[in-house]
């Protein structure tokens, strides 16, 4: 059964392949996996809610209804209300905005910019550049991640908040709590790049010696051309797989930092703060929805990231298929 499917797939690819890019093919293969489609759908809904929270959320995340505190699910409040009578559904939607911002920002800075460029650079240049980058990576790899993240966020926050240009940027972007976001994704990126950079570097080391790269260089192609036209397209699959695998961890770490009280500060909603508020055993006994609602959303999101990561690995790394 599975073999027949695979054969049909290959046939499809052969007949249609001429007009499709490798990534387009991979995407089609991905859409054939039901679990991956479900995961992708949940992630899409989550990111949509996060990005358009002001439109999607029925209420403001600060609007209090003190006549209706700690209510269970009802028609007016589908997911109940918290200690201050704030609508849980709206708070979950606004908290997803925090997750969306942190994951996307870390993905771009730590995942794409730092790990890809440093990995490419180390692998392509070799020699002293390689040694320098990889030894710095070793140091970050040896630092205990979570304690260092907590320490950085706890100690550097006052310094970041002081900066005038960040204040201006916050007003300009109209994102409340921008310093919190900057610190979190900055610190996360600092630690997130090492794994990806190592994998990309090792791939580049192998690709650098292939005939087509040697040929391109012999024809006088510049380093930039070799990197962007010949090397980058060949590691793009690994980059996508690596990024998708790290998304769940990034989302989880933001939640952990906020839970410790060094991440996103109230009143900006975050799943970390919600899990902290609902996490005491007495609260869970009396008002289980305070923990279970954000807990279920977070668990589903990270589960979806993990499933999608698995599916992408299957689809994009042909050797493992």
């Amino acid at each position: 059964m599975a073999e027949a499917e695979a054969a049909a797939e290959t046939l499809d690819e052969v007949t249609l392949g001429a007009r499709r890019s490798p990534l387009g093919l991979a995407f089609r293969r991905l859409l054939r996996k039901r679990i991956a489609v479900l995961a992708l759908a949940f992630i899409a809904v989550f990111y949509f809610c996060g990005l358009f929270a002001p439109v999607v959320a029925p209420r403001s995340y600060t609007a209090q209804d003190l006549d209706n505190v700690l209510q269970g699910p009802s028609l007016a409040h589908p997911l109940g209300t918290d200690r201050l009578g704030r609508d849980m559904l709206s708070r979950v939607i606004w908290a997803s905005r925090t997750t969306v911002i942190v994951t996307l920002a870390t993905l771009v800075t730590g995942g794409l910019v730092l790990s890809v460029s440093l990995g490419l650079l180390a692998g392509y240049m070799g020699g002293k550049v390689d040694t320098a980058i990889m030894r710095v990576g070793d140091v970050f790899f040896a630092l205990p991640g979570l304690p260092m993240l907590i320490l950085i966020n706890a100690t550097l926050k006052p310094r970041v908040v002081e900066q005038a240009w960040i204040k201006n940027l916050e007003d300009w972007l109209r994102v409340d709590g921008l310093p919190d976001y900057i610190l979190i994704f900055g610190a996360l990126s600092l630690f997130a790049w090492v794994g990806g950079a190592r994998i990309i570097r090792s791939q580049i080391l192998a690709l650098r010696e292939t005939e087509y790269v040697v040929a391109a260089r012999a024809m006088g192609a510049s380093a930039w051309r070799v990197i962007f036209r010949h090397l980058l397209p060949n590691v793009s699959n690994i980059i996508i797989v690596g990024l998708s695998a790290s998304l769940g961890a990034i989302a989880g770490t933001e939640i952990a930092l906020t839970w410790f009280g060094v991440g996103i500060q109230p009143p900006t909603p975050s799943f970390g703060a919600m899990l902290y508020d609902g996490g005491s055993i007495r609260t869970l006994q009396a008002n289980p929805h305070l923990l279970l609602v954000p807990g279920a959303v977070v668990a589903t999101l990270i589960f979806a990231f993990n499933l999608l990561g698995d599916a992408l690995t299957d689809v994009l790394t042909p050797r493992a298929r």
């Binding site: 679990i35 030894r135 630092l143 260092m148 310094r159 090792s202 996490g279 055993i281 807990g295 493992a320």
Partner: protein
């Protein structure tokens, strides 16, 4: 065996250099924070003159590099400084007993992680193509996805308050019922990773000629799997013990804090929130050294277990 000795030497020579860099980063970040240790220790009763005097006595008015030099000198002599929170008790006296608690808990969790993950991985590989393969891996992938922050309170509610099977938090050693909840909370998230790697290596081994030979000469399937497949598939598992240790430590932060276990995770949490700088620094150094040593030991052990492994220049940690 040519090449092993230079490899080990190179790894051992790099380790102290990495530790120095790690300690310098941690030191700088800790000192850069708001309120130096003394003003934190003195709380609200601060008298500027006394503050300046104590600061001078502790050498905190010196340039950062000098402070760092003195700190490292002391560390090399076994002095990790004093805790401000625990009434000037030496940091090493505080850290090591707590590390022992965490190590015990971590060992139990590690045994559960591998004890569950390895059989699940083998089964998933043997049932490749049937529904059991994705179902078993996905189940544990789900456990990996639920944050410890959710599992621990829920387990407390179910097992302690509703069913009365287990006692609440606290620490009574590894042979008491108190360990069940933290050990489960710490080990469940790691099972998926172990199971997945085990599944992948088992699938590789199943394709080997010697497995076909074993089947061809009429061995029972159980013997083939246990004697020929599992033993060879287990080799690469040693490499992920290091990663498992990191996962365990991060889980320990929450589990120990939530359950009131006097381990290193809870100590780190409390030290960071109360800015007990020397404890934070000491912890960072001790943990980083432990990881570096553990990784070197694992890698070297692996080259002995599986001589086919090549030693790459790049793999320093």
């Amino acid at each position: 065996m040519q090449g092993i000795l230079p490899y080990i030497l190179r790894r051992l020579l790099w380790a102290p250099l990495i530790l120095i860099a790690v300690s310098f980063i941690a030191f700088t970040v800790a000192r850069y924070g708001p309120g130096d240790p003394i003003s934190v220790a003195m709380g609200q009763y601060r008298d500027p003159e006394a503050l300046a005097r104590v600061r001078h006595e502790k050498g905190l008015d010196k340039p950062l590099l000098d402070q760092y030099r003195i700190y490292i000198w002391n560390v090399l002599h076994g002095d990790l400084g004093e805790s401000f929170r625990f009434g000037a008790r030496p940091v090493s006296e505080i850290i090591f007993p707590k590390m022992w608690v965490s190590a015990q808990l971590g060992l139990v969790a590690l045994i559960i992680t591998f004890g569950v993950g390895i059989p699940v991985g083998i089964l998933a590989a043997l049932k490749q193509g049937s529904w059991m393969d994705p179902a078993s891996i996905s189940t544990f992938l789900f456990f990996q996805s639920v944050p410890v922050l959710v599992t621990v309170p829920v387990m407390l509610l179910v097992f302690v308050l509703k069913l009365h099977w287990l006692p609440t938090g606290g620490w009574e050693g590894i042979f008491s019922k108190h360990i069940v909840i933290p050990a489960l909370a710490l080990s469940l998230p790691g099972v998926a990773g172990v199971a997945r790697l085990m599944r992948a290596t088992t699938l590789d081994v199943l394709k080997e000629d010697y497995v076909r030979t074993a089947r061809a000469k009429g061995l029972r399937e159980f013997t083939v799997v246990s004697q020929h497949v599992a033993r060879n598939a287990l080799l690469p598992m040693t490499t992920i013990i290091g990663i498992s240790l990191v996962t365990l430590l991060e889980g320990a932060f929450f589990t120990e804090t939530l359950l009131g276990i006097p381990g290193i995770g809870r100590l780190a949490f409390e030290s960071v929130t109360s800015r007990d700088y020397d404890v934070i620094l000491g912890l960072t150094l001790v943990l980083a050294s432990a990881f570096i040593v553990a990784n070197i030991v694992i890698d070297i052990a692996y080259t002995f277990i599986d001589p086919r492994v090549r030693y790459q220049r790049s793999a320093v940690i």
